[in-house]
């Protein structure tokens, strides 16, 4: 942890890595919605945070005034050596129109319902193998024994990477998304092993071609041209980083909820048909992902004097708790029928992996409650939440028997 000045007023000096925000951001956002509703900070070189559904929608759908060139807010800005808009470092999440649609259409078929749904038996088997490994234990860590491995194995399988490299993957994810406060020079050094690893994997795929997403990207063409090597590496990094701690967080938060809400757990066990509806409410209430944009030019937007290269932190989780957009927004309603949550974003950057994420969360919860129809939080005060733009429990002791 770097030295950090505690936040006194989130309206004028917010910091999403402040312990208050990390541990329980919801009261902060509620307060901001009534007072601001767009918060500002001089930290990170200047940033804004719209706390309402309306504000988040405006930014998410406005690609004229905001660029996706980088989507993780840090102390620096993309350097001169970084690929510029409209491509960015990790296409298509970092791409702007018009290039964005080409990079996106390229990967969407791999994540459409057809190919994704075919993974269901594999995921179900994986969940059971993970539960078998800790079957002797009375207390298990729902995060580090279970949730984190599900998307890790699935993504490594899709990319065609060796299964034994899982621990290396998790380290990359941690570096990429939780080190946002480190100085820019340090960040570049931290990312080096990841670039080296991906380059090595690409060479291995060129030498030994096989049917997987890596080979798909190596052979793919945009407008008749093969992808630039930086594009292939960028999209692989995106799939790895965006596909793991996000879903890990959604599974973990859902288990955390069920572990201390026995009525909801009992309903899910007794009414399996409720599962798809319940999954949407888990996703709304505990949306893990906050994105970021950069302001393109000096301009008044959302009533604020935004400056070129200011960050906008794009709080989909905050939008999901806005009472203007959701009835009883601050209540978890397991059979909520009307649920227009924006957990996977809005507009052209809708999470490309949303079908996969939903499947993983549903199967993970189904198999967990099948094995353990009752379970409780072993020590609520021991639960630790991830710091950064992806929120979920990283330490989650659950008593499953005894």
């Amino acid at each position: 942890m770097t030295d950090q000045k505690p936040v006194v007023d989130f309206a004028t000096d917010f910091d999403h890595t402040d312990p208050q925000w990390v541990n329980n951001p919801y009261p902060i956002w509620e307060d901001l919605r009534t007072r601001c509703p767009v918060a500002h900070t001089e930290r990170y070189g200047g940033a804004w945070f719209p706390a309402t559904h309306e504000g988040v929608s405006f930014v998410a759908k406005n690609t004229d005034d905001f660029t996706s060139r980088t989507v993780v807010m840090g102390n620096g800005r993309p350097g001169e050596e970084a690929p510029p808009a409209p491509i960015g470092v990790v296409p298509p999440i970092s791409s702007d129109p018009p290039f964005h649609q080409y990079a996106r259409k390229l990967i969407l078929p791999a994540f459409a319902p057809g190919p994704v749904n075919a993974l269901e038996p594999v995921i179900r088997q994986l969940c059971n193998e993970l539960l078998d490994k800790v079957a002797d234990q009375e207390v298990i860590n729902g995060s580090s024994d279970y949730a984190q491995f599900i998307p890790s194995y699935v993504i490594s399988k899709m990319l065609g990477f060796p299964e034994e490299d899982i621990d290396t993957f998790l380290e990359f994810v941690h570096i990429a998304l939780e080190g946002v406060n480190h100085p820019q020079e340090e960040r570049i050094l931290e990312f080096e092993p990841m670039n080296e690893y991906f380059t090595k994997q690409i060479q291995d795929h060129i030498d030994n071609p096989r049917e997987d997403l890596t080979n798909f990207l190596l052979n793919a063409e945009i407008l008749g041209n093969k992808l630039e090597p930086e594009h292939v590496v960028g999209t692989m990094i995106l799939v790895l980083v965006a596909g793991i701690d996000t879903t890990w967080s959604a599974i973990g938060s859902s288990l955390w909820h069920l572990a201390h809400n026995p009525d909801d757990l009992a309903r899910l066990v007794n009414e399996p048909d409720l599962m798809p509806t319940a999954i949407e409410e888990f996703l709304r209430f505990y949306a893990p992902v906050t994105m970021a944009r950069l302001v393109k030019e000096d301009k008044e937007l959302l009533g604020c004097p935004m400056k070129k290269d200011d960050w906008v932190l794009l709080g989909f989780p905050a939008a999901n708790r806005d009472p203007e957009a959701f009835e009883d927004a601050d209540k978890f309603i397991i059979d909520r029928a009307e649920n227009r949550h924006v957990t996977f974003g809005l507009g052209i950057h809708r999470c490309a992996g949303s079908n996969l994420a939903r499947l993983e969360v549903r199967v993970a919860i189904e198999e967990f409650i099948k094995r353990y129809p009752t379970f409780t939080l072993e020590d609520p005060s021991a639960v630790r939440w991830a710091q950064g733009q992806v929120r979920g429990p990283r330490h989650l002791p659950i008593r499953v028997k005894g």
Binding site: F111, P113, E280, A337, R340, L346, R350, S354, R358
Partner: protein
């Protein structure tokens, strides 16, 4: 009443074909498509309305 998806608004959020698979399907990119293109039965109309209320992009239209 008939149901329509505005292809410019649809971003493939996937809510419609999850809620009402008999009315909505998906294309190769995962965007929603209408399968029941004719006049909706009462039962289908209710399901189409539910899908509409769950579409974050407001891409579903039900009209005469």
């Amino acid at each position: 009443m008939k149901v329509r998806i505005d292809a410019d608004l649809c971003q493939g959020q996937g809510r419609c074909f999850a809620i009402a698979p008999q009315i909505f399907g998906f294309d190769d990119l995962g965007n929603g498509v209408v399968l029941e293109t004719g006049e909706l039965s009462d039962e289908s109309l209710e399901l189409a309305k539910l899908a509409q209320l769950n579409c974050p992009e407001h891409a579903i239209f039900i009209e005469d």
